[in-house]
């Protein structure tokens, strides 16, 4: 599981019936500075990704998302999902050891 900032929404007109009840978020994964409290902008390096969400996260939230096979585990039917929003993060405590 990784953390990321929700930076946008993806709206669909036609979609697989299995996606019913969820929506898609555009997420920028955290780099180390974001764990330490750096803001959403400027965006962290690395490419953003689209995450399936049925918890109701919105732009600006920090979420924990799973990727690969586990992303489709919560569905009843085999569902083509690459990344799944597993948690909306309230607080994170991050204190790396000082070098």
């Amino acid at each position: 599981m990784r953390l990321g900032h929700v930076i946008g929404r993806v709206t669909l007109s036609q979609q697989d019936p299995a996606y019913k009840g969820g929506r898609f978020l555009l997420v920028q994964p955290f780099a180390k500075p974001q764990f330490a409290g750096a803001s959403m902008t400027p965006l962290a390096p690395g490419s953003s990704l689209v995450v399936y969400d049925n918890l109701g996260a919105d732009v600006g939230h920090v979420i924990g998302f799973t990727e690969s096979a586990e992303a489709s585990a919560p569905f009843d039917q085999p569902t083509p999902v690459d990344a799944y929003n597993a948690a909306i993060i309230d607080t994170l405590f991050y204190t790396p050891p000082s070098a």
Binding site: L3, F30, T95
Partner: protein, 92 residues
């Protein structure tokens, strides 16, 4: 399996039901020299690892799903061992 160091902890109210009641920590993956490698990841922590403790993470979802007793859990990383010995330093 991933060697990592526990660097923090997360708090989440709205989450997948399988995560409720389980401690989830932020882990910094380490290389064989103990240097930081890549961005931190999240892992379920059934062993209550201490802050900055080195741990072994299993990055295979099967054990995590077994631990939370939910075959439909999206969890993947789970801490399976706490590392006692300091990493061996290169003597060259």
């Amino acid at each position: 399996m991933i060697l990592a160091r526990v660097d923090g902890v997360i708090v989440s109210t709205v989450c997948h039901p399988s995560m409720t009641g389980n401690r989830t920590v932020i882990c910094q993956p380490l290389d064989e020299q103990g240097r930081e490698e890549g961005s931190p990841i999240l892992a379920v922590d059934p062993l209550s690892a201490g802050m900055h403790e080195r741990v072994l993470i299993l990055a295979d979802g099967s054990k995590a799903r077994e631990f939370v007793k939910d075959p439909k859990s999206p969890l993947r990383n789970i801490i399976l061992a706490l590392v006692d010995e300091p990493l061996k330093k290169e003597t060259a």
